[in-house]
Amino acid sequence: MFVPDFFGQALNGLSYGVLLFLLSVGLTLIFGMLDVVNLAHGSFYMLGAYAGLATIAALGNFWIALVVAPLVVGAIGAVMERLALRPLYRRSPLDQVLLTFGFIYLFEDLVKWIWGGRIRSIPPPDLFSGSVTILGATIPSYRLFVIVFGFAMAVALWLLIERTRLGSIIRAGVFDAEMTAGMGINMPVVFTAVFAFGAALGGLSGVIAGPIQSASPPMGAGILVPALIVVVVGGLGSLKGSLAGSLIIGQAETFGKVWLPGASMMMIYLVMAAIVLLRPQGLFGRPLK
């Protein structure tokens, strides 16, 4: 049965790739646009999952959690940026490394303190709790939802960045912060807003991934490196690149697991190494000087 075999796995690759995009888009924004080394991105993912858990426990509704969790994490991100990150913009990026590393430890332990260390799970919403068969290949309906949601998110973000005034302010600020400030835009507020937005996106991905994966306090560490890899492969600060990179890595990893199972531990690193060596600026990044 070659056709459903291949098609089924390609579908798996697509769902994995889109999930990867959702996991990393927040980092693309923060790292690529603000030039801030935020190693605590995995923590936002984790905080989102737990905010989602708490919302579902209180209100029993997955869709409300999908809205509430990102707002909560966005707020946390805003506070973190305003109090701890802002003083460091003028300092070396290594200081941001140490700071955000500290937040990783802090967030993980606080979550463990409040919720305990037990593994938890977010159940898929009733609407998408079964599986469908397309062309002989079976896929959980929730994953189809993730694919659609992911693409919709990509389009929405693109519209936001390219077609709105807020988007042009962000793009201008990234290009030349002083000039933009000179035009009367309050840059510190913009930075906080963008950081909070990136954090919210990270938190959103935590809820979305919840029904597929499990939630535990150390879960953030597992997605930090894949997210960084997507950002680098796609090209720093490029939304298009982030999407393209995730989709490519999604297929490479999936078919890697099918044909070269022994290499699955390092597949993502091989892909990244190859791309960085062949095209250092990533797929859609600005060419390096």
Binding site: N12, I119, R120, S121, I139, I212, M219
Partner: protein, 403 residues
């Protein structure tokens, strides 16, 4: 004023000095002071719940004994090994060299166990392994000073091989994470599965810590196997079982595995996805014997309604062995040979059945490996025993119990 202050200082220091001397004197009069039990376990990270379970059960037993044995107080010194071998080794050194523990227990991580083995052996420190299942510790790397109350990776899997071949199907797809422990566990299964007429349709080893099993599940579906035998633990077990159900495989391809696939540390997160999964383990809180019934009730009462799991049973047995052996030698921890001897001979009724050590390997002889199925019971889901295999002992190949 001056006189008063000087007098006060003089009086104060005299009082302080006499208190210190008094304590020191009373200490040296006591039978060598408290018995120190060291615990090297993870208290942070995903496996912290295991560390907690084991510790809580030990506290249950010691509290029952009023934290005293043979006239000496019991002191538990807990060290977090963070599931990292460098940290685990460091903490082991601390407990042995600095705290001078009388008995060491732990760890969860087999890598840490292998890393601490030589230090324990050369310093002749008594170690009771309360979790790590590395087969080697009961085989070529066993030691006169090392006991194990938990299990060897071989034990829960070997009986499942012939059982699955006879009671489920002879066409099985095998899967486990791609590391030595995973391969060892499946290896034990194969040892009895194939001779019983079983056919291994295919084997797949996803990476440890895999979060997306989709490609493997699709392969399982295409393989034509009638059942899957899997070893996964922790977050891997949750992800695998959930996704197995989401892909609709449960109805057509029976899911079986080693007990860790559905233990209480992962069952709540798996929820209904785990219904019907069959696993092999030496324990389930559903066991119907008087010792277990009391254990479950006492544990729940002491720890806010929490049900004990296999890890707690390991902790319980570890503490029981310590208490009984110490009683047998009258609290004398100086004569280690006598203590080891007393431990090796320890026998008692444990929640899992009649507990004994194998004199050949110092590994526990599992009174039973229960075949359990996840079903709905009062209070939620649990592993209900549906069959059992008696007297499972590790082959202990290559073990000479060196001193």
């Amino acid at each position: 004023m001056r006189v008063t202050r000087r007098a006060f200082l003089a009086g104060g220091s005299a009082a302080a000095a006499s208190v210190v001397v008094g304590l020191w004197v009373s200490r040296s009069h006591a039978q060598g002071g408290p018995v120190k039990i060291g615990l090297v376990l993870p208290y942070t990270g995903v496996y912290a719940v295991l560390g907690e379970s084991i510790t809580q059960a030990m506290e249950l037993v010691f509290a029952r004994e009023n934290w005293t044995v043979a006239g000496r107080k019991i002191e538990m010194i807990k060290e977090d090994d963070e599931m990292k071998p460098p940290v685990g080794v460091r903490k082991t050194e601390k407990l042995i060299d600095s705290d001078k523990v009388d008995i060491l227990t732990g760890p969860v991580h087999s890598g840490i166990l292998m890393g601490m083995r030589d230090k324990v052996h050369s310093s002749k420190t008594i170690l009771i392994v309360s979790n790590a299942g590395a087969d080697a510790i009961s085989r070529e790397r066993c030691s006169h000073w090392i006991f194990r109350t938990s299990f060897s990776n071989w034990q829960p899997n070997a009986p499942m091989g012939s059982w699955v071949a006879k009671n489920v199907t002879k066409e099985v797809f095998l899967t486990a994470p791609n590391y030595q422990a995973g391969k060892d566990q499946l290896g034990a299964f194969k040892e009895t599965f194939v001779p019983a007429g079983g056919k291994i349709i295919a084997e797949d080893y996803p990476k440890l810590g895999e979060t997306d099993y989709a490609p493997y599940l699709t392969k399982i579906k295409q393989s034509g196997a009638k059942a899957v035998y899997a070893f996964f633990s922790g977050t891997d077990a949750v992800n695998f079982v959930k996704q197995y159900d989401q892909f609709g495989l449960k109805g057509s391809i029976k899911l079986t595995g080693a007990g860790f696939l559905t233990e209480p540390d992962v069952l709540p997160a798996q929820s209904r996805s785990a219904l019907g999964v069959i696993t092999g383990h030496f324990y389930t809180p559903q066991l119907d014997n008087p010792v277990n019934k009391k254990f479950v009730a006492d544990f729940k009462a002491k720890f806010g309604g929490k049900t004990p799991d296999g890890f707690a049973c390991q902790g319980y047995d570890t503490a029981e062995v310590i208490v009984r052996a110490l009683k047998a030698v009258g609290g004398n921890t100086q004569d280690k040979e006598k203590l080891v001897d007393a431990m090796a001979k320890t026998e008692f009724d444990s929640p899992r059945g009649r507990f004994r050590f194998d004199p050949k390997t110092h590994n526990v002889i599992q009174p039973f490996i229960y075949i359990r199925e996840v079903r709905e019971v009062t209070g939620g889901l649990d592993n209900v025993p549906i069959d059992k295999v008696a007297d499972v002992r590790d082959p202990g190949t290559g073990c000479t119990l060196p001193t």
